[in-house]
């Protein structure tokens, strides 16, 4: 990473006795698409609001190109923002909404006209220029909000769950638009969402929030394939957690004993564990296979239910100790007549992660 463009330093925000953000430090390079992902109440929106200037942090700092933003009021921060709710000005036309930030900056009329046309072209709403926001669909309103937020070429664009009010199909469509606009404009985007699929689809990097702290920062791939904690593993994608006893660790790979007594070696250890320590082994549903391979470990299960989901099957199975696990092999890996029987399933120990219990 080069010299940080936007820098969040030890940010803390308390509301009375409740601390919403504990200690967030993050460097964001220019042009990055960074997503704050986390459950509601994890502090991601509060962090975003501190950058926008809606909330003064209790301590810590927000710096843009080395200069602190904290003393700068919202209207002088020159930051673009798209909100969760529709915040277009209902008495102004689409074109006047997009022109608003330029008008308050007293830009010359010719420049305003050109910029409004460019922005409406960017969000593909040229023909709606003279409509009022009330006459647009939710998706169109958010695209106008995007045009308005980008009209004054802000160095940073904040997006606070902008798609949460839209239905799934529209959400996917606008996600595509946002990716394209990020590519075309190169603006640095900070995006808040609680939807992990949205985060994986859009972001260069994801900061996963939990209880006012960042649990892990990394690419979607990092978070999915190399989760730092069991919370990350549980939040991103689906996962099975099996109770296990730790026996030994060598070079980051551990040997464990599962509850049914079988011993598995070669799983990835997240942390240092003592001999005999109670741990949890995380295995992704799609990491299970139906065929043995030279490196695979095996697990005895009773198959309870098999459902066909197109490219994958979804199997509910029960381990010897009665725990239900979720298995999703590709449809071709298992014939439907295999269902409802006792059998072995297989997993690659290198794709299984050991976490403290």
């Amino acid at each position: 990473m080069t010299q940080p463009f936007l820098s969040i330093r030890n940010l803390r925000k308390a509301f009375g006795a409740i601390t919403a953000v504990h200690d967030v430090t993050l460097d964001i390079p220019k042009g990055e698409f960074l997503t704050f992902l986390g459950p509601s109440g994890s502090g991601k929106s509060t962090t975003l609001y501190a950058i926008a200037g809606f909330q003064d942090p209790s301590s810590g700092n927000v710096e843009l190109e080395g200069k602190s933003l904290l003393a700068v009021p919202s209207h002088k921060r020159n930051i673009g923002m798209v909100f969760q709710r529709y915040t277009l000005f209902p008495h102004l036309t689409v074109a006047e909404n997009v022109a608003f930030p330029l008008r308050v900056r007293r830009r010359p009329e010719a420049e305003v006209k050109k910029k409004v046309a460019d922005m409406l072209a960017l969000v593909r709403l040229e023909s709606f220029a003279q409509r009022l926001p009330g006459a647009l669909s939710g998706g169109q309103q958010q695209r106008v909000a995007l045009a308005r937020a980008l009209a004054y070429d802000p160095p940073i664009l904040l997006m606070d769950e902008p798609l949460s009010a839209l239905d799934k199909k529209l959400r996917e469509e606008i996600q595509g638009e946002i990716r394209r606009i990020h590519r075309e404009t190169g603006v640095t985007i900070l995006y808040v969402t609680h939807d992990q699929e949205e985060a994986l689809h859009l972001s260069d990097r994801i900061a996963l929030f939990k209880d006012g702290r960042i649990e892990q920062t990394g690419s979607g791939e990092d978070l999915y394939l190399r989760p730092a904690t069991d919370f990350v593993a549980g939040f991103i994608g689906n996962s099975n957690f099996l109770a296990a006893e730790h026996l030994d660790t060598k070079d980051g790979t551990a040997t464990i004993r599962l509850a049914d007594g079988s011993v598995v070696s070669g799983v990835r250890a997240n942390g240092a564990f003592g001999k005999g320590q109670k741990t949890r082994l995380m295995i992704r549903p799609e990491a299970f296979g139906m065929e043995r391979s030279p490196t695979s470990a095996e697990l005895n299960v009773d198959i309870v239910d098999v459902a066909f989901y197109g490219e994958r099957r979804r199997i509910v199975a029960q381990t010897a100790t009665g725990q239900e696990i979720d298995i999703r092999p590709t449809s071709t890996a298992m014939q439907s007549h295999d269902s409802t029987q006792c059998r072995q399933v297989y997993f690659d120990p290198a794709a299984a992660f050991l976490f403290p219990a």
Partner: protein, 286 residues
């Protein structure tokens, strides 16, 4: 519904439930329409048939002064009421709702207090040797008592006080419908607090200002008690003049004509407001 069933109905029928509305209609005609027509009739028949009452009222400088005064007082009261009510309404709109209902209670309670009591209370406060003048003189702000009563100032203060709830209530409704996030969005777009106010908040609250403003203006035009008690002889208002014409001079014709002019002006203003706000609503989308 198919076309046949519709054709099978009689060609003309009273709207359903019309019979139930009849008593109410009789009431309206008897107590509202008939008196207004009687008023109109009197104004063109007494003391003799013709439009001379209207000619007198509109041609005479003394009466013209009363009309002018009435409009002046009503305008000043309306403007001052809007200026005072706006911050109060905004505060009520953004306040936690529990606290807001307490403040609302106080405002409504003042509306329920007897009008005469409240106006006499202002007399006690505003007169030469009243609480306000004495306090200001005691702390040395002024040497001479301020002329706060029996003039336009007195009438304005007393009437604004009485009219405030009629302005605040519709305005709070309008302001509450404005999403505070809209103003945050305006701020991030680079609008200073003043720009956000005059480009966003003010235009969005115009329907409320128009509704409350018209109500206050129309009520002020016909107001009697407060101008009579707090106003001076030199700025008589129309209602006082009508009372004088009918009670002291027994000139029913002239009094009726003045009342009818007031009614026409009021209705014209109401029609104008309906047009303006209606047009705005349609173009405003929301």
């Amino acid at each position: 519904m198919s076309v046949e069933t519709r054709q099978s109905l009689p060609t003309f029928r009273m709207p359903a439930g019309f019979n139930g509305l009849l008593p109410a209609l009789v009431l309206i005609v008897l107590f509202f329409v008939v008196p207004v027509l009687a008023l109109l009739l009197r104004s063109v028949t007494e003391p003799e048939p013709g439009l001379q009452n209207y000619a007198t009222l509109l041609g005479d400088g003394t009466y013209a002064r009363v009309f002018f005064n009435t409009f002046l007082v009503a305008s000043v009261v309306t403007i001052v009421t809007v200026l005072v009510a706006f911050p109060v309404a905004w505060m009520l709109a953004i306040m936690p709702s529990a606290l807001a209902s307490i403040v609302f209670g106080i405002i409504i309670l003042s509306m329920w207090t007897n009008l005469l009591t409240r106006t006499y209370a202002w007399m006690v406060l505003l007169q030469r040797t009243g609480v306000i003048n004495r306090t200001l003189m005691a702390i040395g702000v002024i040497d001479q008592p301020l002329p706060l009563i029996n003039n336009l100032t007195g009438v304005t203060i007393g009437m604004v006080y009485i009219m405030l709830p009629f302005m605040i209530l519709p305005l709070v409704g309008t302001l509450r419908a404005i999403d505070p996030m809209t103003l945050r969005a305006a701020a991030l777009c680079g609008a200073s607090p003043f720009q956000a106010f005059h480009r966003i908040l003010l235009p969005l609250s115009l329907p409320g200002i128009a509704a409350g403003g018209l109500m206050v203006f129309v009520m002020s035009l016909g107001y009697f008690v407060t101008p009579a008690l707090l106003g001076g002889t030199s700025n008589m208002m129309l209602a006082e003049m009508i009372a004088q014409m009918i009670q002291s001079l027994l000139n029913w014709g002239l009094g009726s004509a003045a009342a009818f002019i007031l009614l026409v002006v009021t209705m014209a203003l109401y029609a104008l407001q309906l047009r303006l706000v209606g047009a705005r609503r349609m173009s405003g989308g929301a």
